[in-house]
């Protein structure tokens, strides 16, 4: 493979992986800390993308749209937690799946009513519209580089927040022993609301960032949800570090799976099968480590 094409695919894979991480980290945090399986998480990604599209059109500025969309998604997260999710903490997974599946249908219908079912695209903001030339014919878009940097900064910020702040300590304590955390004077209900809203905002933000590089379409939430569950399972449920490793792995496997043609004992493996490569990898990882790469050890 041409080294420049390899480099481009590598960058694409990393960028896709980082974007997946933003969505999956919220999913794994909400499951790891509150024990809630949130099927509606993909919907937040979809909502984010549609918000980016419609707010950019309304406000005439992508950056303002990002800011407004982020604030709106935090508010949405707080409201959803208060209305629905907090009733799920002490209930079993079946009820969680039923309610959050219902939320998928509601968000999908709302999206259809408010924004319609068409496919849209969002223009790359002029500031980042250029590309970096690699050879005479190949170039890499600046926006994609910027997107990866934003994701890395967010991931680093999240790591710092969870590992090195008092808020992070409280959140981790709450994940291991809810009752004891409360008895130390910490309002766990408020803490859970913050974590949920943060997860929603991350997923929506990922959708907003992705809007200029992929199209904005109705089924995008469900597509990303399935891949994010793969990320969470491979990474180890509840582990943010695991989500990062798994998301990068999946980003690279998926990207290279689409461009590399190779033969296995005489059979040509078609790029069309790339969609499967991620699931094949999940099967292999789970055979090797059934609890995922970074199983969280609480005890």
């Amino acid at each position: 493979m041409d080294p420049y094409i390899f480099l481009i695919q590598l960058l694409n894979g990393v960028q896709y992986g980082l974007l997946l991480f933003l969505v999956a980290s919220g999913l794994t945090l909400i499951f790891g800390i509150m024990g809630v399986i949130n099927l509606a998480h993909g919907s937040f990604y979809m909502l984010g993308a549609y918000l980016a599209w419609s707010l950019t059109a309304q406000l005439g500025n992508f950056w303002l749209a990002l800011l407004a969309g982020f604030v709106l998604s935090v508010v949405l997260g707080i409201l959803l937690e208060w209305l629905f999710i907090r009733h799920l903490y002490r209930r079993d997974h079946l009820q969680q799946v039923l309610l959050t599946y219902g939320l998928i249908l509601i968000f999908s219908e709302l999206r259809s009513i408010v924004w319609g079912d068409d496919v849209h695209s969002v223009a790359v903001p002029t500031l980042l519209a250029g590309s970096i030339p690699l050879t005479e014919t190949l170039a890499y878009p600046v926006y994609r580089v910027w997107l990866s940097i934003v994701c890395v900064v967010l991931a680093a910020g999240m790591y710092y927040l969870i590992q090195h702040t008092r808020l992070g300590m409280m959140v981790r304590a709450g994940a291991s022993n809810r009752e004891m955390t409360q008895s130390l004077g910490i309002d766990i209900g408020l803490l859970y609301r913050l974590v949920f809203a943060f997860g929603v905002a991350l997923a929506a933000f990922a959708g907003m960032l992705a809007a200029p590089v992929s199209s904005v379409f109705p089924g995008m939430g469900n597509q990303v949800l399935i891949i994010c569950f793969v990320v969470v399972v491979i990474g180890g449920i509840g582990s943010v570090k695991g989500a990062m490793a798994a998301a990068l792995l999946i980003g690279l496997v998926d990207t290279f799976g689409k461009v590399v043609e190779f033969e296995i004992s005489g059979f040509r493996v078609l790029p069309e099968l790339a969609g499967m490569s991620v699931f094949v990898m999940m099967a292999i990882v789970l055979l090797w480590r059934p609890e995922g790469l970074f199983a969280r050890r609480l005890r």
């Binding site: 008092r166 300590m169 291991s176 022993n177 009752e179 004891m180 409360q182 910490i186």
Partner: protein, 249 residues
């Protein structure tokens, strides 16, 4: 009601830090507490005793908001706290050292202490990380270790230190020395004595009658969800046959 009674009530509410009145509590279908009254005055140390399954932990959990009572009331410094969330009761100055310690195994020793540290309900911040580490020098050596790497005695010291860092008025200890080697248990009792001298009131549950009755101003004995005895240690030691019946000692 006579005027004198009113006066006495007012007097009490000023002095009483935490009070449970007429507590009935259930675990599922089993009726664990049958109308229990317990109050703790400022500066007082209560030894709460009874055999296993008599309702000691249930009583503490009711007072801490962890198991809202079926009937009865809980007050902290005269304010109604029945059915209040556990964090509100904690914020009113009540700290808890649970049976089994409740260490966060996924946090380091330092993090276990820091996540809880705050000023008391009245803004008091006598207990700082440094003072806690001076009281428990062994924790200072273990600050970077994970909570799950500590010995039982160190875990108990960590839980007590963590409770003190919330600058409480009231310290509630369930099974203060259970499962600890005798020398370690002695160290814990010495520390509890020092905490008592610092002016913090406590309710201490433990199986070691002689140690509890030495430190306690008042002993309370629970049998089948009811208080059968309340009083000083001398009165209790003078009745060995009842002690045998109530506590099996």
């Amino acid at each position: 009601m006579a005027a004198a009674d009113c006066l006495e009530l007012e007097d009490m509410s000023d002095d009483v830090l935490i009070e449970a009145r007429g507590i009935h509590a259930y675990y599922g279908a089993s009726h664990v507490l049958h109308g229990v009254d317990l109050h703790l005055r400022r500066g007082e140390t209560i030894g709460l005793m009874g055999r296993n399954g008599m309702g000691k932990t249930t009583l503490l959990r009711s007072m801490l908001g962890l198991l809202p009572p079926a009937s009865g009331s809980v007050q902290v410094r005269g304010r109604g706290m029945t059915g209040a969330a556990p964090h509100r009761i904690a914020r009113a100055g009540v700290a808890y050292v649970p049976e089994g310690r409740g260490i966060f195994p996924n946090l380091s020793v330092r993090e276990n202490l820091l996540m809880a540290a705050r000023a008391g309900h009245d803004g008091r911040d006598d207990w700082t990380l440094d003072r806690a580490l001076d009281t428990f020098p062994r924790l200072r050596e273990r600050l970077a270790h994970g909570g799950q790497q500590l010995s039982g005695g160190e875990q108990q010291m960590l839980t007590i230190a963590r409770a003190l860092l919330t600058n409480p008025d009231v310290l509630i200890l369930d099974e203060a020395t259970e499962g600890l080697a005798p020398l370690v248990a002695q160290e814990i009792w010495r520390i509890l004595q020092r905490i008592r001298e610092s002016g913090i009131s406590s309710i201490i549950v433990d199986k070691n009658f002689s140690a509890v009755s030495t430190i306690a101003d008042r002993n309370v004995i629970l049998v089948k969800g009811q208080i059968v005895f309340q009083g000083g240690s001398e009165a209790l030691r003078a009745r060995p046959q009842l002690l045998q019946a109530w506590l099996g000692v």
